[in-house]
Amino acid sequence: MLKRTPLYQNHLVLGAKMAPFAGWEMPVSYPAGIIAEHNAVRNSAGLFDIGHIGLIKVVEGENALSLIQKAATNDASKLEINQCQYSVLCNERGGVIDDILVYRLPLFYLIVANASNADKVLAHLKSINSKAAVSFYDNFCSMTVQGPRAEEITGCVLSASLSGLKHNRALWWRDIIVSRTGYTGEDGFELVVSKREAAALWDGFIRAGVLPCGLGARDTLRLEAGLPLYGHEYDEETTPLEAGYSWAVKFDKGDFAGKSALEKEKKEGLRKRLVGIEVAGRAIPRQGAEIVDSRKLKIGIATSGTFSPTFKKPIALAYLTPHTPSPTPIFVSIRDQLCPAKVVDKVFYKRVK
């Protein structure tokens, strides 16, 4: 039986196309379609139900910070109250259990995990300290408003002034945790709201004219921004160093899960590295498409690929062997045809600030 967020009925009313995702029945797109939803976020604003995402509460106390420090790669001791930090949970081999966002709130830490990994993240935290006060933040769910008009619209719907809220900072507004964070490459806000009030808040945004956007647009937006998705760019055999997230691995903060494996890889060299790929023509390299060199030797594999609505051409993320020199001609095998391609910066889209 698939789980449903508190916004399930709202999606049906809006005519969403629903599909299973990580054990949840989620909206993939609405009648506007993925491209129109994507463009709304780039040019105006879009509203997403991310109620499937795992919210885990770690109660403040002397154990809380020490637990997070041992469990995750980034340095949570640097967090000020109401600040958010991207971090990674690794197994002892340095492979990624999940990538997370850690919020330091006035009374507790909130860990935001991928829907597919929420149970695993909770188990990982408990394996490090079985006595820690760690639990799902059960009565709450998330939604997000993303796009250049997000500040104006979210401020208007909440009757709050958000202009002073900086990137990766959070505030409590009534019973809502509002953070200036997101997964689209745009400015935006993620809202953690009680499940009872979620539908009314969602309707408020719809009435304000924000276009509802599904997981389809969420995927094209994060891919253009070069952001990794678990199950594609990350898995338990891939390290954060290989994905280009060495900035979120702080070796000088003390011991943490996966540290020695990651130190070893840093010293001996990466086994693979994540790059952006652009392909000539319109065929799309999907996850699993092989990358070969001019001698047809396999040098990598695509992890995500789509048609970029912003650039109107196929783009992909791929892992290449670290020895591939950048100017080498490369090809992507798509349905047994070798399509000429080139390696590019994996951040295809950068917002003009």
Partner: protein, 130 residues
């Protein structure tokens, strides 16, 4: 009208319009709706001989890729070149401007194995019966 009565349909969600020995082929309203925004159509070369139910190309949407199957045997005599520039015609006009290929049929008796509009609609999930 989402499923014109004058067309024949395949279980694989292609439609076929017959004019003498020439069959025009495209994908149904349901197929384009399930795919979402179409961004690329891969079509066979002209003159290619296709057997009934043989794969002849793919339609890619933002989200997924789907194979195209030729409902009847025959030779490819025309491709919709407009789709190279405007693949979204498959969404906006699945039965007219969004046609994909024309085939000169080698065995028109195969048409008897295809579905009528009414029978095709019975194969669809309830939400898609219009």
């Amino acid at each position: 009208m989402s499923y014109p009565a004058e067309l024949k349909y395949s279980k694989e969600h292609e439609w076929i319009r017959v004019d003498g020995k020439v069959a025009t082929i495209g994908i149904t309203f349901h197929a384009q709706d399930a795919l979402g925004d179409v961004v690329y159509v891969e079509m066979p070369s002209l003159g290619k001989e296709l057997a009934a139910r043989q794969e002849f190309g793919v339609v890619e949407s933002v989200k997924s890729v789907s194979s195209l199957f030729c409902p009847v045997s025959g030779k490819v005599i025309e491709r919709n070149a407009e789709l190279e520039k405007r693949p979204e015609l498959i969404n906006s006009s699945p039965y007219e401007s969004g046609w994909i290929i024309k085939v000169e049929m080698s065995d028109p008796a195969e048409l008897n194995k295809l579905l009528s509009a009414a029978d095709y609609q019975k194969t669809l999930p309830p939400a898609h019966k219009h």
